[in-house]
């Protein structure tokens, strides 16, 4: 029998999205094993409220916690998300949607996009062969069909929600499962003789002891950095955006089931439609644009009346050198930050929690668990980083100093190889672990005008007439299927509308 693992008392510092997701996850899944979770937060400290737009994985997280989907959507004023529309990225005037689903159907092991590439001039946009894209453009939605033979089963969906409402929603859930909450600011972090974290002292003198500490204190990293001096890998030389300004505004027009990311002169702007308002933000590189200019551009592009004063944020893209260091695990902004271009913030929180739960030992050497956790999380961060970078470099834009800088960037070798391969023959480098798989790479490549010179030669084995007819038949079938769905607004109204008295909360 190995050494008894000491982690029975978990202390979470920070009560934002990361803190309460972690608390709810650990209490639900490890509580039965006698793991006690305590969360320390201060109502005086506002939360950043990352990730108003999410990825489909969050549905699994909520389901695991036993959360009712419609109840959650109503509580967080959520809408449905079928993908992200990217505007002005390849060229000014361009638009494409990165969907949560595949394009077409592979044939004899040959990717659909090779068939599309061969007949591209007659086949139209590859977007016409993705059900979630077509449904998103039509503003329609229903949950995917369970019938795997139906084209209506070929997509997934996520949510666009009010992140400031998600943490309180989870708090109720977590506290019902035994999570103890302490209100207060941390005034001291105490370490044992061997360097581990022993306890936190709150400003009123209380001490909170623990075996394992989860740092969800945000960018600063009160434990992982201030106390443990873990160090930070700065990736700003690849992803130079380092500021954001965010502001909500009133709705205008129909409720769209997708997030929009519009490329700007020195960064990009998000638009996230919720049930009660639209979230907007401008992510920019301060080396190329001042805060006033960034805010001005954001204000002038709002679709409705501004509902709050703009909020400015600073960040450094990158991650901690070790996300699990000694007996501290950094989750959320305390662990690292990648700009929310592909809505990955909550996904990274979720993965951090998932790996922590998977590696939560009853016995065994915790340094080995930490090494494995860090290996897996490093992989997640690095693969997302490369994918984000692709958006900035797969472009023909040279209209501003920022875009000229991005075009001259020296890319990681791994990304250079991937792009050269796709340009040459339409092949997408594959991996099993990590977030963005083939369909995602295809969406950005083709959406940003990286079109392969060649298609797979095996396509020529199929008779042209038949292959073309099949392609066009599929296009019509997808359009008809998407058109048969209810509107996004009607679906929300029927299943998960937020009661009017809570809409303005």
């Amino acid at each position: 029998m190995g050494p008894v693992h000491p982690y029975k008392r978990v202390v979470i510092l920070g009560g934002g999205t990361a803190g309460w997701m972690t608390a709810a996850g650990l209490a639900t899944l490890l509580g039965p094993a006698g793991v006690h979770v305590t969360l320390v937060e201060s109502e005086e400290i506002g939360i950043v409220g990352v990730g108003e737009a999410t990825l489909p994985h969050i549905r699994f997280f909520n389901e695991t916690l036993g959360i009712d989907e419609y109840e959650f959507m109503a509580a967080t004023r959520a809408t449905v998300k079928l993908g992200i529309e990217f505007v002005d990225w390849g060229r000014l005037g361009d638009s494409y949607i990165h969907p949560f689903g595949d394009y077409g159907i592979p044939n004899d092991g040959i990717g659909f996009h090779h068939f599309w590439r061969k007949f591209a001039s007659e086949a139209g946009s590859i977007s016409d062969y993705s059900l979630p894209v077509v449904a998103a453009r039509l503003g329609r939605f229903a949950p995917p069909s369970d019938n795997t033979r139906s084209v209506l089963s070929t997509y997934r969906f996520a949510y666009q929600f009010d992140a400031t409402a998600y943490a309180p929603f989870l708090r109720a859930h977590a506290e019902a499962r035994g999570v103890m909450r302490h209100e207060g600011r941390v005034s001291g972090v105490h370490r044992t003789d061997d360097g581990d974290i022993a306890s936190l002292t709150l400003d009123d003198g209380r001490t909170v002891e623990g075996d394992l500490f989860i740092d969800c204190s945000g960018f600063r990293g009160l434990i992982i950095e201030d106390a443990l001096e873990t160090g930070y890998e700065n990736w700003q030389h690849w992803l130079p955006c380092d500021r954001a300004v965010a502001v909500p505004c009133e709705h205008a027009g129909p409720l769209l089931p997708y997030t929009r990311a519009t490329a700007r002169g020195a960064g990009w702007q998000w638009r996230i439609p919720l049930q009660h308002r639209t979230g907007n933000g401008h992510v920019y590189a301060s080396g190329f644009l001042s805060a006033d200019e960034a805010e001005g551009q954001l204000r002038s592009s709002l679709e409705g009346r501004m509902l709050a004063e703009p909020r400015h944020l600073r960040f450094t893209t990158g991650k901690r050198r070790k996300l699990w260091n000694r007996n501290c695990v950094a989750i959320g902004l305390a662990g690292g930050f990648l700009e929310p271009l592909e809505s990955t913030s909550i996904y990274l929180i979720q993965q951090g929690i998932t790996y922590l739960i998977e590696m939560f030992q009853g016995a065994g050497d915790p340094t080995v668990a930490a090494a494995e956790y860090n290996r897996m999380m490093d992989l997640e961060f690095e693969r997302i980083r490369d994918f984000l970078l692709l958006h900035y470099v797969a472009t023909e834009r040279t209209d501003t100093e920022f875009w000229r800088y991005m075009r001259s960037l020296k890319l990681p070798e791994s990304l250079q190889e991937k792009m050269a391969l796709f340009r040459s023959n339409g092949r997408v480098q594959r991996y099993d672990h990590g977030l963005f798989l083939e369909a995602s790479w295809l969406a950005v490549y083709l959406g940003q005008r990286v079109v392969p010179k060649q298609y797979d030669q095996r396509v020529d084995q199929f008779a042209d007439d038949q292959a073309k007819a099949k392609l066009l038949g599929l296009k019509k079938h997808i359009f008809d299927a998407a058109s048969s769905l209810p509107t996004h607004e009607a679906w929300i109204a029927k299943h998960c509308a937020t009661p009017p008295d809570r809409l303005s909360a």
Binding site: G2, P32, D365, V368, A369, D432, H433, Y455
Partner: protein
């Protein structure tokens, strides 16, 4: 677009074993064009030792089916649930079954049964995983029978080719998977010794990558680079299994990490392109006496009595587990 298409007209597969015949058939089925010949040319000298049977894993059956070959009907084909690596039996399935959401390996570690005195192979899997063991002679005969129909021709040694596919292990140092006009497939690209039973599996996996990266233009540089990268990725876990089963101990830090994670967390680490099941890794780790010390905290929710009953149920030799 057609002007830049590749100009391959003559592909020669070198070898005389199952890897060579399967390679020729697959290329003829999936990449051969009207203007192309796929020749099979017996190698001047063969390093391949003929095994009595070829192990066909479940995931290899589909490729054979696409060639019109139903291996389950071959004379002498039989289901097996393990394969042999030297003196070690490697079981395809994970032993036991979860209890109340806790995986069997954690129950063993928690209960103290995961000792050096017992092997994971002492416990029966709840859900067996099978592969086919096909007599080498019938397998080879079957491939030879379908080859002409697939479009494979045989050639005399020395016949010229645009591209030569090597399928048998080469003497000397390791070769790149694709150099100039020579492509290495299966055992030629991923030489195995302790785990030689996996040789045809390496052929299937590298062929899938070769088909996917087959040259589409006269410029092969990127195809070559990508095939080489993919084969290297496939080869890594095979190499790790070889290292794991070697008495010399692990050389690669990731193998050492894999062992430590098994010992301290009872976890099989996920890696890209892993050809092996968790059961196979557990078997190998157990066979090499890497003893589990750590387990998941949820194992503590089980009482010793229920763990004992569960373990006994799957113990080979016990009434229930036999």
């Amino acid at each position: 677009m057609s002007a830049a298409r590749n100009t391959l007209t003559h592909v020669t597969v070198l070898g005389s074993g199952p890897s060579a015949w399967l390679t020729a058939c697959v290329l003829a089925r999936f990449v051969k064009t009207r203007d192309m010949t796929i020749d099979l040319q017996a190698a001047a000298s063969s390093d391949s030792a003929a095994a009595d049977s070829v192990l066909i894993r479940y995931e290899m059956i589909q490729l054979h089916r696409s060639l019109g070959l139903d291996l389950t009907k071959l004379p002498g084909a039989k289901q097996v649930n393990r394969w042999q690596a030297g003196t070690h039996g490697i079981q395809l399935a994970k032993p036991g079954a979860p209890l109340k959401g806790v995986d069997f390996e954690h129950i063993l570690a928690r209960s103290g049964h995961a000792t050096a005195a017992r092997s994971l192979l002492d416990y029966a899997p709840a859900t067996p995983v099978y592969a086919l063991a096909v007599p080498s002679t019938s397998y080879l005969e079957a491939l030879k029978r379908i080859a002409p129909h697939a479009g494979v021709t045989t050639a005399q040694p020395g016949a010229s080719a645009n591209l030569t596919i090597i399928t048998e292990p080469q003497r000397g140092s390791m070769h790149d998977a694709w150099t100039d006009d020579r492509i290495h497939v299966g055992p030629a690209a991923i030489p195995l010794s302790a785990t030689a039973a996996m040789s045809q599996y390496t052929t299937v996996l590298s062929l899938i990558e070769l088909v996917a990266t087959w040259p589409t233009t006269a410029q092969w540089d990127l195809d070559r680079q990508e095939y080489t990268r993919r084969v290297k990725a496939i080869a890594t876990p095979f190499r790790h299994m070889e290292e794991l089963l070697s008495t010399a101990g692990p050389q690669d830090p990731l193998v050492a990490h894999r062992i430590r994670v098994w010992e301290e967390l009872s976890r099989i680490i996920p890696v890209d392109h892993d050809p092996y099941t968790a059961g196979e890794w557990m078997s190998a780790l157990s066979a090499m006496r890497h003893q589990q010390r750590g387990y998941h905290v949820m194992a503590e929710t089980l009482s010793h009595a229920e763990m004992q009953a569960h373990i006994t149920h799957f113990s080979k030799g016990s009434q229930a587990g036999a």
